[in-house]
Each structure stands twice: as C-alpha cells, then as structure tokens.
Symmetry: C2
Subunit: 139 residues, 2 copies
C-alpha cells in the first residue's frame, strides 16, 4: 500500500495523517508480522530521523482507540499490534515466538450465551509449535 492510500485510510478513521503515523501504519500493513513496540521502534528508528519510542507507544494507542489496529495480548509480557482488523485468529509458536494469522469466518465463532452483554471484541488465540519448528524438532 502506498503512503497516499494510507493517509486516506487514516483520515477516514479520524486520524490526521502525520508523517510518523503514516510510516508506522505503513510498517504494520506491509510487514504483517504482529510486531511489538520494540520491533517497530528498532526497525524504524534508522528510517525515521529522531523517532522516539514514546511516539511509537502514542501512535499505536491512538490506532487502537481509533479502531485501525488491534492490540494482541497473547502472552503477558508483551503487546503485539495488528493492522488487520477483520475477523481472524492468531497462532503463536512457543519455539520461534512467531505469530501467524489464520482465517475464521465470523459465523464460525462460537456464540456463547451471554444475554444482555454487549460484546465489542473477539480474540481467539492458539498456542503450540508451528509446522516449521515441528519439522526442525523431528529432524
């Protein structure tokens, strides 16, 4: 996705498309690697002159509040971010620590009996060992 498209997308969601915001969203969209703040910061600090880690936190919090990114709390010691806000699940490998998406259709999600509850977010996480690491272990 180009900078121009990202700017338009942010604007449509009530976010002023300032340079650093566009770059951070561009990173999320293009890498799709569910990065932590640390990963985003260390990857972008070379590219964006004078980027501060606090800015990364600020911008990501803004993205989550505005609904253009999801905060994934798969494990307790880190938050990962995902620009794909459609219905899908996440798998985390305990060997390589990678997080990958898997598709779930909205209608496949269980519909628990929670009468009178307002449900705003669904999170479906799986954990285990990915196929790549399974092969490595067997070998």
């Amino acid at each position: 996705m180009e900078q121009q498209q990202i700017s338009t997308y942010l604007l449509k969601n009530g976010i002023r498309p300032l340079q650093k915001r566009v770059k951070i969203m561009g990173y999320l969209v293009s890498k799709r690697n569910h990065p932590t703040v640390e990963m985003i910061y260390s990857d972008l600090v070379h590219e964006i002159k004078g980027l501060s880690k606090t800015t990364v936190y600020n911008v990501l919090n803004l993205f989550v509040q505005s609904g253009v990114a999801l905060a994934l709390n798969i494990e307790g010691n880190e938050i990962r971010y995902d620009a794909d806000t459609s219905t899908h699940g996440h798998f985390k490998c305990r060997v390589c620590s990678g997080v990958i998406d898997f598709r779930i259709k909205q209608e496949e999600l269980p519909k628990p009996m929670l009468d009178g509850f307002r449900i705003e977010e669904h999170h479906f996480y799986l954990m285990g060992v990915c196929s790549f690491c399974c092969n490595k272990i067997e070998a």
Copy 2:
C-alpha cells in the same frame, strides 16, 4: 473443596501439597474470580502468616507449568489465573473489569487450517460490557 481433596489433586499432578500451595489452590478453586497475583496476595496475606508475593508468583508459575491452572492474558497489563482447566471461554467487562467464564464445547471451537502445527492451548476471549454494567449505564 476440602484441603484433603486439594492435596490429593495436587499430588496427582506431581505437585507436593505444601501448606501454602494448598491454600492458594483452595483460593482459586473456591473464589473462581480469575484473580491477579495482587488479588491473591492481598486476600491471603492476612490468613497465611508471613506470605510473600514472590511465593504467590512461584506457586502460580508451578501450577501453570503442571497444568492445574491457566494463565489468562486478556489484557496486557495483568495476568489472571484460573483453576478451571477445562475448555471454556472468558469475557472481560471494560466497565467493572470483572472476568466471567462461559461454556464452549470443544467441538464448537473453530478448527483452523493449520496443517503440521501442534496446537497445545486454546484461548477465546471476549471483551465488552457485561449485562450488569449495561443496565447501570441505561438507568
């Protein structure tokens, strides 16, 4: 559940049923409130003479490793613990911060296409506003 039953249960899972471990498991089992370490510590420190917060951490980590408790990472800033290790989901209310269980049958869980992956844990979290808080807001 009585102390004796809890001791037997811990033993069966390879955990020596020392006094503080039995008390902490008893707390988890009887309250079923998905407590944080802070909640467990502040509730039990009066009852168990000289309890240390580090011990609560140690014991809970042991419980999770031994498979007699689940660590819930619903939101990034806290881990909650659950002695119910059967298949079920969790709802967290963003108003009152309470966490409640809901039943899901194993066969209701979506089966994503993850060929060659070893799946060890399922986590299904919902977030929103519980019925009690919905009523309060409307009133």
